[in-house]
């Protein structure tokens, strides 16, 4: 089943009045929409998304879409046109800027518009906000985080699309049911006081969890936002350091010495630890004690397993060695006597002790821990000194770029602090002494919450319900984990098949997708690689549905070098789904021109702009080759010649 975006129309909004028709060229492989900064790209994308689910607009948000002073109108609308299985439907968002209000209307059949939000039955149970967030993506904001170890973008995408989150809601419903039952069973007297105390504690824990989760979100955002700046700074600093050949040579020498010393230091630490474990191989009170113990065993003639074997053999005979018959009484005497001798298995343990002592106390194996200590200290000091020298050389090389160096150091520290928090602090195991005030570990806080809930269930007499909910929740959580793992494996396999087909040069494959996309043998891909693999990943997820969704991408080549841009153009030309992307004029070189060349122009190249004398003239001069839709303040020009020629007049703020 195919689901396509056919166009949209807007009037009276912050962006100019536009009318986009995307299906004029039915053979189009992709649609490129060029909109200068400040023309309403972000507004358009946001409203396109809101056209596909019933969004609750707050008055402040309605205000955001209002046209600026001289273009102000009391009312405005945004109408999108879609197609599912050949049937066309419309959704319209009507804004009343005077009342700061909004309403939806939609037309899903020939009956015309009705005043509510509706989707055709084919997709009404499938399309929701979470899915739409996957269909409309900003490569910079949504795709890059899918490749960062401290982010969970890929996992969230899988959860959203495969509706795994529904199970989370079911768990939440069970939790609410449990809490409701507990509240209905309110006791009186001292039990009530105890319940109050525990409920206060529970609230504190819940608040702390929310606080930590907020912090986690902020930290992830910070890491994402500073990633490029940090990487570029690091690259630039390396270039500066490497540019002075003499200093570079000196640094290389020092680094070589440092690596050698580090290796010696580490080997010695390992050897020293092995020595400590090999009790007896170094002089200590333990050596004396274990040697004395083994000597004493020798002195006592232990182990003496042959004696118990001897008794065992006698017990099996009919007659004793003296020739008399071995009756039960005599056997009893022998068995009692046997008890005073150690068993075969005990003898084996003792023999092993003696053998180990003998092995470890051999003269040739002797080690000296004091000597180890002083050598460890020497190596450690040498390492510190070499590290300092390397730093000094770096400082000398960076003397003219001290600000950049400081800034990058600062970023490194701040980023490490946050990474540590995400990797270690929130994942600490629960400890019995933990309180909500003493820890920020989400694992511990959740366990504390569980314990308090258990106490509350005991106090309110709802233990039975508590246990049942706990069992069901556990089953559902396990099911969620298993489903996620299986789906991740399948998606990884599918993605790699596509990568193999679509990457002409040096394909980079996906190793696994857990929280994020892990690439083979490399920490991160280049911006271009990540963008292309990100698109493949999203398309693979979207393909799991029986409906073929379009992929609508903002900033598809931002931050890519021209080779990456060209490869992305070639890559998009091979996509099977409807693909629509928004660009600005500086994205065109090596991208849309390359795409035009590869596909013989079989695509939609649309330019939309706020009218000005200069742009109007330009459009007029190209009118014979292009299809133009004009409103009082905006123009939509369909055609490659104008698309290619169009250049923004200056840099403005994108809204």
């Amino acid at each position: 089943m195919k689901f396509n975006l056919l166009g949209w129309k807007c009037e009276g909004l912050r962006c100019p009045d536009f009318n986009f028709e995307l299906n004029k060229n039915s053979n189009a492989l992709a649609t490129f929409i060029q909109m200068p900064n400040g023309t309403g790209k972000t507004t358009t994308l946001r409203l396109l998304k809101r056209s596909l689910y019933n969004h609750e607009f707050k008055s402040t948000e309605v205000e955001m879409y209002k046209a600026k002073k001289n273009e102000f109108k009391k009312k405005g609308f945004f109408q999108a046109k879609f197609e599912v299985e050949g049937k066309i439907f419309y959704t319209k968002i009507n804004f009343d800027f005077e009342k700061q209000d909004y309403s939806y209307s939609s037309s899903i059949s020939d009956e015309g518009f009705k005043n509510n939000f509706r989707l055709p039955p084919e997709i009404e149970n499938i399309v929701d906000k979470e899915l739409i967030d996957l269909v409309f993506v900003d490569l910079e904001k949504d795709v890059k985080p899918m490749f960062r170890s401290y982010q969970t973008g890929a996992q969230e995408a899988i959860r959203k699309f495969c509706k795994i989150n529904i199970l989370k809601n079911v768990i939440k419903d069970f939790e609410n049911f449990k809490n409701k039952k507990r509240k209905e069973n309110i006791k009186s007297g001292s039990t009530k006081n105890q319940i109050n105390t525990e409920e206060t504690r529970e609230n504190k824990i819940i608040n702390k969890i929310a606080e930590v989760e907020k912090k986690v979100k902020e930290y992830k955002k910070y890491l994402h936002e500073t990633q490029d700046k940090y990487d570029q700074g690091k690259k630039r600093l390396k270039e500066i350091i490497d540019s002075d050949t003499q200093l570079k040579k000196k640094r290389k020498e020092l680094e070589k010495r440092r690596d050698e010393t580090k290796s010696k230091y580490e080997n010695l630490l390992i050897k020293n630890f092995e020595t400590i474990k090999n009790i007896g191989s170094y002089d200590s009170t333990l050596k004396k004690e274990i040697v004395d113990f083994a000597d004493n065993l020798d002195y006592l003639g232990l182990p003496e397993e042959e004696v118990t074997i001897f008794f065992d053999k006698i017990l099996k005979r009919k007659n004793c060695i003296c020739g008399e018959e071995l009756n039960d009484d005599k056997k009893k005497v022998i068995k009692n006597e046997m008890k005073s001798f150690i068993s075969i298995s005990e003898a084996r343990i003792i023999a092993a002790i003696k053998a180990a002592v003998s092995e470890n106390t051999k003269e040739k194996e002797k080690s000296d821990l004091s000597e180890n200590s002083s050598r460890i200290q020497d190596y450690s000091q040498e390492l510190d000194a070499l590290e300092q020298d390397i730093e000094l050389i770096k400082d000398r090389a960076l003397k003219d770029d001290i600000e950049l160096s400081k800034e990058n150091d600062f970023l490194q520290k701040e980023r490490s602090k946050r990474k540590k928090y995400l990797d270690e602090v929130i994942t600490q195991p629960w400890k019995a002494k933990d309180t909500e005030a003493s820890t920020e570990s989400l694992i511990s806080l959740k366990e504390q919450k569980r314990i308090v809930e258990k106490k509350l269930a005991d106090l309110s007499g709802t233990k039975d319900i508590e246990e049942k909910v706990s069992i069901i929740s556990e089953i559902l959580e396990t099911a969620m984990d298993n489903a996620e793992n299986e789906i991740s494996k399948e998606i990884t396999k599918e993605c790699n098949k596509k990568i193999d087909k679509m990457f002409t040069k040096n394909p980079v494959f996906i190793t696994s997708i857990k929280n994020y996309i892990v690439l083979d043998d490399q920490e991160e891909g280049s911006t271009g690689q990540e963008a292309r693999i990100g698109i493949i990943f999203l398309l693979t997820i979207l393909e799991r549905s029986k409906i073929k969704f379009p992929l609508i991408v903002d900033t598809p080549v931002k931050g890519m070098d021209s080779a990456g841009t060209r490869r992305t153009a070639r890559f998009i030309s091979k996509l099977q789904s409807q693909f629509l992307c928004f660009i600005i004029d500086k994205d065109k070189p090596a991208f849309t021109d390359k795409f035009y060349e590869i596909t013989d122009g079989k695509s939609n190249f649309i330019t939309a702009f706020r009218r000005s004398e200069e742009f109007d003239k330009l459009a007029e001069s190209e009118s014979s080759n292009n299809n133009i839709t004009t409103s009082y303040n905006g123009k939509v020009v369909d055609g490659y010649p104008f698309f290619e020629k169009f250049t923004e007049e200056d840099e403005g703020e994108d809204n």
């Binding site: 230091y265 390992i270 630890f273 170094y282 200590s284 333990l286 004395d292 006592l300 092993a352």
Partner: protein, 166 residues
């Protein structure tokens, strides 16, 4: 029975007792990549060897332990298992005032302590005793480092080596 690390003191009057995992966290290989300390068993053995060396043990009942990290000696420790067993047997003989020349009493002690069916080769009571020496060693380390987790592996082993080779 199995190996466990101490988490806290049941009555920690001055609140200074540090969980064993926290004490070692900065000098484990996952934080300091030069460190040879990798497993919980490494931590346990460092403390146990020190406790046995100094003949110091702590009351097992006064401490709370984390859940078991292993029911047996991990592969890299099978070689030293007999040495630890031997040292514990020697300590037990001293604790029970057994005359080392009295063969019957020595043998009786061996029978009482050893258990070939247990992977640690000790009866439960004596596995507890092993943990008491481990606790003893850990308390010595805590004292040596003023109840603060060491940050440098070289400094840790410098102090440790001095303690065990004395």
């Amino acid at each position: 029975m199995s190996f466990r690390l101490v988490d806290r003191k049941k009555i920690d009057a001055d609140g200074k007792f540090l969980s064993c995992k926290d004490f070692f966290k900065n000098i484990r290989v996952d934080v300091d990549n030069s460190s040879p300390i990798k497993y919980d068993m490494d931590i346990f053995m460092l403390c146990l060897i020190l406790g046995l060396n100094q003949g110091k043990k702590e009351d097992y009942e006064k401490y709370k332990f984390l859940t078991s990290f292993s029911p047996k000696y991990i592969d890299t420790y099978t070689k030293i298992k007999p040495l630890i067993t031997g040292l514990l047997l020697s300590k037990i003989m001293k604790l029970k005032n057994i005359d080392k020349n009295e063969k019957d009493k020595v043998k009786k002690n061996l029978q009482e302590v050893l258990d070939d069916n247990d992977p640690i080769n000790l009866k439960p009571k004596y596995i507890d005793l092993m943990h008491e020496y481990y606790l003893g060693g850990y308390c010595i380390l805590l004292k040596q480092f003023n109840n603060k987790a060491p940050n440098e592996v070289s400094i840790f082993f410098d102090k440790y080596n001095k303690l065990v080779s004395n």
